[in-house]
Symmetry: C2
Subunit: 145 residues, 2 copies
Amino acid sequence: MYQSPEYRQLTDYLHVQGLNVTPERMEVLSLVLKQKGHFRIEDLIRNSARRKKSISRATIYRSLKTIEQAGLIKSIRSINDEKIYEIVKGHHDHMICEQCGAIIEFHNSELESLQDRICNSRNFTASRHVMKIFGICSACQKKQE
Amino acid sequence: MYQSPEYRQLTDYLHVQGLNVTPERMEVLSLVLKQKGHFRIEDLIRNSARRKKSISRATIYRSLKTIEQAGLIKSIRSINDEKIYEIVKGHHDHMICEQCGAIIEFHNSELESLQDRICNSRNFTASRHVMKIFGICSACQKKQE
DNA sequence: GAAATAATTGAGACTGAATCTCAATTATTC
DNA sequence: GAATAATTGAGATTCAGTCTCAATTATTTC
């Protein structure tokens, strides 16, 4: 149980921070890893409620924050301002369809190096960035024809 | 009164949309234009409350949304997830200091054309983008030395 | 410009996400 | 295994943002 590298990463983080390794924290991570693609906190809460031993709303919020700080997940805001989480794989950015709300991931290395250049020229030490492009996805464009 | 181009832009938008031109909407725009740089809705509400004829919270929220749709202002989320508004001048992006919360504007034309290329290659029709770079600003770096 | 019509406003109730409180429970340390 | 400190759960609380609906106001028409 709890073999995959994600659990290691979390326990390592907890140890470094002097935090306790609790079943609740591990269970929240396990709920997260069961999600496919993007998810909302309410999804986790509902999924947890379905189990024998459910985890309280407060603990799910608290653990998610810890898991985010451990670098395992990150959050973005969708069109309707909803907070959406996703598992951190490689870094990527997002295109968001203003019509259907679809969130499309992309990665572009030019963009990454451009960020560095922009920051260097202004003495800003960047730790990360968020790029969101809003518009109409190809599927919605076809529908309109 | 209400001579500057911003008021024109708003009344034009209201006419096109078949919405009424009300003193409240104009007054909210005037509150907005008094702000320097970035501001929060609560700032406007507080400023409005100070006046002879104050405008209700609900109307300020409603009018701000209209003013945003008219293209006069836009919003971003700061580090602590606070919703921050700013007057739309030319398009620009943001660097956000994770230490002091400072929001620094920048514009880079390479970034703009790069966006187009990325979208073209994926059949995504972009209408706008948001780029936020998080890190430590030069002032905070000096403080730490 | 007065009447008719439709949109807007204000006050406060309401909603829902997120946080807080604190006693009871549990992980960690020695 | 006892002592200590961290964590949890349940529900209260907070706060931004939205909704309701009667009263008001802008707009249109003649």
